[in-house]
Symmetry: C2
Subunit: 879 residues, 2 copies
């Protein structure tokens, strides 16, 4: 308590600081700053004036003022162009336009189908043909178009954006070609009337827009080159994508954060809000301008009563919707993955479909559109409604089934579609939900640009409507017993269901906000939030989110999230999961070591340590850098130089008496052979297979290096060494050079091999090599939780584990992934890591993470050993 007293006194002091103490600092600071500002302002105006004067001097014509004005304007514009908000406004404007145009085209496509279908109502068969052919053609075109122009445009794009925002560079995902393919492909795909969504692709399209705009605007200034800024802009673009798709700025920002980020910089927040709001605003203004709407309102406006939106006693029903949606969402993700895997596993189907790439989309479309044919099975599932129309009718604030019978079903508009003379409206809804469920899961596997959000949203709304109608039938006069009759609003249930199911599939909470913005009403906030949270809780414990599922299917580099409150994460430490056998190079290693390390390792970067004895980590070098070092050392230019030097030395030797005869003999011997086997050399040259350029994977961060497959057969026992040149000199210009001055290269294979052997024994010169001098380091005691945080915060690929400067291990994304998945899957049962039993997990982590100095002393002793810098020791490390 004595300590407490002191602290309290200190705090009182601290506290009164704000209210009773004189501190000069702020005032003085402000004055200084003001002075500085004034001064710099003067300086600026002086320099500007002098510049103006120069211009006047220079141009004595009468339009001098004009020119000065123009120059100034230009300068101003260019300086402003670099500002973020200009970029964001342009992005928002562009995306709003794109979104509106796409929507417009989709609407025309759908109208055209309806018109065809309506015009042929004399003949059912013709009607069927029209109903089916139209989407098949559109989908096939979309699939073919994207396949030819840019296959990266296929799918939702959110998984890829998640990966890109994690810091991984996915090539070709942000090019103009992809943009065109995605926009046109998406329009056609959605115009076909299939149960596909627009949201995911729009995230991708917005990111494409941002990347292209960034490139375009970098013509005006250098600032757009910055990588971290690009990532910030991409994050904002994702928000814009969702925002302009649903006219939901807030929901868009939140959804994009939840879906794409692991850690979010709050300072980027305003960017997303700014751009998304502007975009949503323009998007809705375009609708007003096009006379679709009288003023700016929500996309799917609802008109529920405000006074008494729901009764407290209805909450259990909402909770049921949430839990059921959770299971449904997990099932949807599972079903989607199952379909993909089924098609992959059936080799016969697979082989056939691979040949005819467009057959799969066509078949799927045919199946789905056949089933929705309105005079056929479609009559039981409101098949003639488009996705948008279904949603509007589902969110309707009137009750469809009073007393459980559909007899009062006399509304004008699309709601009629849900009415069937023979069948109850409940049956219609159930059929709709079941059919749409598997149809959506199937349709989203078609290789066209498409998302799954909207279909899921509609299914959720239908499910909610079903529950709501049941409640309305059960309590025809409402639940409230206080006198006033407040009938149940099934439309509110539909809203809740839509938010819950889409939240469960995407593992997000912000679908709640999207729903409010879409419907323009927030009165159901508590039911929606409760349902969404319950749905998330259920779905997250059963399946990964749809996007994570696709990431796994596509094998994109990812880091799984830590689950909901898995404590064991706090007890696993880095030392339990790290790889102790680190590939490293020493400062004084020779090229042979480099060669060996490159052949055996697999990580993208290699650790550079001081020496094998001290193991002090100095930095990390990229594999590519080392490869280029090696290729430089063994490359043809260097050999040619060596030959030239040898020739010069020969000349010198001939003029001056030399005293190194042994070496000279050797050289002469090799020169003597020259003419003998020069033909063999030249004959070998063409037979040596031209090394194929390896197929670069889409990722710039491959975790597995391409092993050399095509070792030339010509050289016998030194094959691995002489093949090095082939391995590392694979760039076309290097080949060209070889063809150019082939005259001088007169070494035999054996000579080359010998020369290469000699070269390999030289010490590496790291001068021309880029070294990352501060690779990320962890300590043995760092907890898995902390490691995960750091990896996802900094977007790391790997981190070295050091103990007081000494490299003792490495942890890569792979190990981390394994560790997390291992303990996540085996729920409740703790997977004991190898060394866990030797630790007391009760001690606080801060104590554990500070290591004692025993190792350091050991090292000190070893350091004083003689001969640590000799080559033999440096050899031992690259076993």
């Amino acid at each position: 308590m004595a300590g407490d007293g002191t602290d309290q006194r200190a705090l009182q002091y601290e506290q009164t600081l704000m209210y009773g103490r004189y501190t000069q600092e702020l005032g003085v600071y402000a004055k200084e700053e003001a002075a500085r500002l004034r001064e710099s302002g003067q300086r600026r105006s002086v320099s500007e004036r002098s510049r103006t004067f120069d211009l006047l001097e220079y141009d004595k014509g009468r339009c001098a003022k004009c020119r000065i004005c123009t120059v100034r304007c230009q300068k101003f514009l260019i300086s402003r162009v670099g500002e973020d908000w200009i970029f964001l406004i342009l992005l928002g404007l562009l995306m709003a336009l794109v979104s509106w145009v796409v929507d417009f085209c989709i609407a025309i496509c759908l109208q055209a189908q309806k018109w065809m279908y309506g015009g042929l109502d004399s003949n059912v068969f013709l009607q069927y043909l029209a109903w089916v052919t139209y989407p098949v053609v559109l989908i096939t075109f979309s699939a073919g178009f994207t396949q030819i122009l840019a296959p990266q445009a296929v799918g939702s794009g959110i998984p890829e954006m998640k990966t890109i925002l994690r810091g991984v560079v996915l090539k070709e995902y942000l090019t103009f070609k992809t943009f065109v393919a995605k926009v046109i492909g998406l329009t056609c795909a959605l115009g076909s009337g299939m149960p596909l969504g627009k949201e995911g692709p729009f995230v991708h399209i917005a990111s494409l827009c941002a990347a292209l705009l960034s490139k375009f605007m970098s013509l005006f200034g250098g600032i757009y080159e910055n990588e971290s800024r690009n990532i910030e802009m991409l994050a904002a673009a994702c928000a814009v994508g969702v925002g302009c798709c649903f006219a939901a700025p807030i929901g868009g920002v939140l959804f994009s954060i939840e879906v794409t980020s692991t850690f979010f910089a709050v300072r980027n927040y305003w960017r997303g809000f700014f751009a998304a709001t502007f975009s949503a605003f323009i998007f809705r203004v375009l609708a007003v301008w096009n006379r679709d709407e009288e003023t700016i309102t929500a996309l799917f406006k609802t008109r529920f009563r405000l006074d008494f939106p729901f009764d407290l006693q209805e909450l259990p029903a909402f909770a049921v919707i949430g839990i059921a949606s959770g299971f449904g969402g997990a099932l949807f993700v599972y079903l989607n993955r199952l379909i993909v895997q089924f098609i992959r596993n059936q080799k016969a189907i697979n082989r056939f479909l691979m040949k005819k790439r467009l057959l799969y989309p066509a078949l799927v479309t045919l199946l789905i559109s056949t089933l929705t044919f309105p005079p056929g099975f479609g009559q039981f599932m409101a098949g003639k409604l488009t996705q948008k129309e279904s949603l509007v009718t589902l969110l309707d604030n009137r009750t469809w089934a009073k007393q459980g019978i559909a007899e009062e079903f006399d509304y004008i508009g699309h709601s009629q579609a849900w009415q069937h003379p023979q069948v109850n409206v409940f049956v219609t809804l159930v059929i709709f939900i079941v059919m749409k469920f598997w149809m959506s899961a199937l349709a989203t596997t078609i290789p066209v640009p498409c998302g799954a959000f909207m279909p899921v949203f509609v299914i959720g709304a239908a499910f909610g409507r079903l529950v709501g109608e049941s409640m309305a039938a059960w309590f025809p006069d409402g639940i409230n017993t206080d006198g006033t009759i407040y009938p149940i609003v099934p439309g509110g249930y539909a809203v809740v269901g839509a938010a819950a199911l889409s939240g469960a599939v995407t593992h997000t909470v912000s679908t709640a906000v999207i729903v409010f913005e879409l419907t323009g009403q927030i009165s159901h906030i508590l039911p929606v939030m409760i349902a969404v949270i319950l749905a998330n809780a259920v779905a997250q414990s059963l399946q990964p989110s749809l996007y994570d599922s696709i990431i796994r299917i596509k094998k994109l580099p990812y880091l799984p999230e830590l689950g909901w409150g898995h404590h064991e994460k706090y007890n696993i430490r880095v030392e339990d999961i790290m790889v102790r056998d680190v590939r490293y190079i020493t400062l004084n290693c020779c090229y042979r070591d480099l060669h060996n390390v490159l052949l055996t390792g697999h990580l993208k970067t290699l650790a550079l340590v001081e020496s094998a004895a001290s193991m002090i980590l100095l930095g990390s070098i990229e594999r590519a850098q080392l490869q280029s070092l090696l290729s430089l050392q063994l490359g043809r230019p260097r050999r040619l130089e060596f030959i030239r030097e040898r020739a010069t030395a020969e000349k010198k030797r001939l003029s001056v008496v030399s005293n190194s005869d042994a070496e000279d003999d050797h050289r002469r011997a090799s020169q003597e052979v020259r003419f003998q086997i020069s033909t063999e050399e030249s004959s070998f040259s063409p037979t040596r297979p031209v090394p194929q350029k390896p197929l670069k994977p889409a990722l710039k961060r491959p975790s597995v290096v391409e092993r050399p497959i095509d070792i030339p057969i010509g050289s016998q026992d030194h094959s691995s060494n002489s093949s090095l040149k082939n391995l590392f000199c694979a760039s076309p210009d290097a080949e060209l050079m070889e063809d150019d001055d082939v005259v001088e290269d007169d070494m035999t294979i054996r000579e080359i091999a010998e020369w290469e052997e000699m070269q390999l024994d030289e010490q590496v010169n790291f001068n021309n090599c880029k070294i990352d001098p501060a690779p990320f380091q962890l300590v043995e005691r760092t907890s898995l939780h902390k490691t995960h945080t750091i990896f996802s915060l900094l977007g790391l690929d790997h981190a070295y584990v050091t103990s007081i400067g000494r490299l003792i291990g490495v942890v890569s994304l792979k190990e981390l992934r394994k560790a997390i998945e291992g303990s996540v899957t085996v729920k409740g049962v703790k997977v004991r890591p190898p060394l866990a039993s030797f630790r007391d997990s009760g001690t606080s982590s801060s104590e554990n993470e500070a290591t004692e100095l025993h190792n350091l002393w050991d090292r000190e002793k070893r350091m004083s050993l003689p001969g640590e810098h000799t080559p033999p020791e440096s050899d031992e490390k690259s076993q």
Copy 2:
């Protein structure tokens, strides 16, 4: 383009992976996992069965089954208690109750005031006395109570939470005392009717709740000890605080994120949503249960029309509100700071107020309540309305001033308060805005628990209402010209104004969401978003947020945000701002170096390098660790041991013939002096001032070490050395020990000084010292932007700058702060850092950040120099 082709091919391959390729992995994985699960399940059930069996064996009584059941239940409960969601539910429940009780008490307080005021309507003077005395008493009580119980409870609490969530430990801020003080103080303060808010304190209260609950629940399991988990829970608690205060779960989560975090972990998202939703739900259910409401609805429900909420042509008016609110918000923050500074600067006032701590609150309250006295000046500013009533009337969906005259002002309820027989409603509104503006700025400086959000919110609403009424007077039939008359809704303007002004003051966008949740209507989403964004843009460029302003006033450790698109940030590098003269210690340094370094440095941790020549960074050591090392070396126990050893050696020498005479003589000489000056030693002992325990600052992370002030006068020239003991042995038990066995300590001061000199020349043994083996490292070329990101991501205090393992500088929060503020304040004019002109900022950053190896080679050369481990060299570094 050749490269593009290859990439495309690779991508096609990648793409088809999902649709056409067989991969066994997922299936196999699932099977393996299933097998593992089954196995572990069996194992568990076996062990459980055996345990059950044991229990049965042990207890053969008839209620064995009962007991087993109890034990199982207990186990289940305890295991479940550790789960996050239980914690969050408890937290939500608790906070909802607290919020409701506080609201209830405030309502009673306010009613009491009204009742007193109403009962005394015969005498205006008595009425005035009652009107004024009541709040003065309440505020004074509140101020006194918090001052006595826990001064940390004063103020909003959001600045402190921001600091705590940044990783800084503020002591006493999360204790039970503070909780009690905050809750009771807040209730009294708000019950007084002053323009104070509830939001900020509720963030603090929720965090207190979370911290206390966490402590309580750690009785059941060890998991609650984890620091990172605590921070996660505190972040969730902040969301709960806002959520249960306004019944706004989504807005609460977003607001708390914006206000407290720099980087937000999306995996914490659900925690916030879950707890805030539950809390808001319970909070509103309590209202229903108390018969205040019929069902769960918004707190300040509005009833604007849904069909045509606003016309497109009204948007400029909304934009004007936004921009004006931006200026207003900045002015509010400035005014608030100005008042605090004015009171500090006026020394006379200051001295007087410091003496009578409760006078300032009383005076301010007196002033404000005098001005709002309804029969007095209050009649022109709706003085008799409470804050809540004002807000309800301002958000009313009816127009007050048709045709610019207030004659139709015949509504029942509180709206009458705005009507004045002589004065226009516009004048009332203007007076209200102006008066409340400075009143709120003044009231929030009172040292009671209070926030500024709600007062600002009300002022914003009034401003919006003013603009709305003006618009309604200007366009009596609405703006729309398409036939239907849609009159303008001034209430909508009030909503926009409230969101904009509160957004401007707090620098947040999420006030928009809070507004929707508070009013229960989202129809004005676009105007609100536009106004909030504009207000933020204006306010952020003029002033820091209110919370940041308080952080600066209170001098809490903080890191300013990077401003809106300041490009120059991308061009400053770490090398321009780092401190090159780093204090460090070497592995083989002696205690003297340690001593010197400790006396000169000021950072909390010191770098440990291999040697002064190599400068390879091995880790960092906390100052406290070094101090304890030094005190251990120079401490009394060690000296006594030395004396004992010397005595033993003496004895040995007497029995055995020794051959080291010189040393022995020295020892004998010192022994001879022993009896002569032993009295002087003992007389000196009590005169030595007992070192005062330094007042611990509230922060656990002080950046300035306490310099030794009280050097004992007794010792002449070795004073600094012998004072070391005083400096480092200040703990009371050390003093006690000295008193215990004073018998043996018979060394003179000179002897002690000599001994200490000797000790100081010994090499430091780091064995008992905790070393952080992986302090965070940056590179010279790291940009300021990246540095800021890393510092705020990881909550760093300082980072070392290394170049290929060599320590070359250090950057602390201070340098970073200076660099950011320097370039933020001088807007548009780039402050050129010293070395900036030598750099070309056009090159890409990735190239810059990889350093070449020149330094390394230089170092290598130096490394091979002989004698680098000899003491003379290690001396040179600790100048």
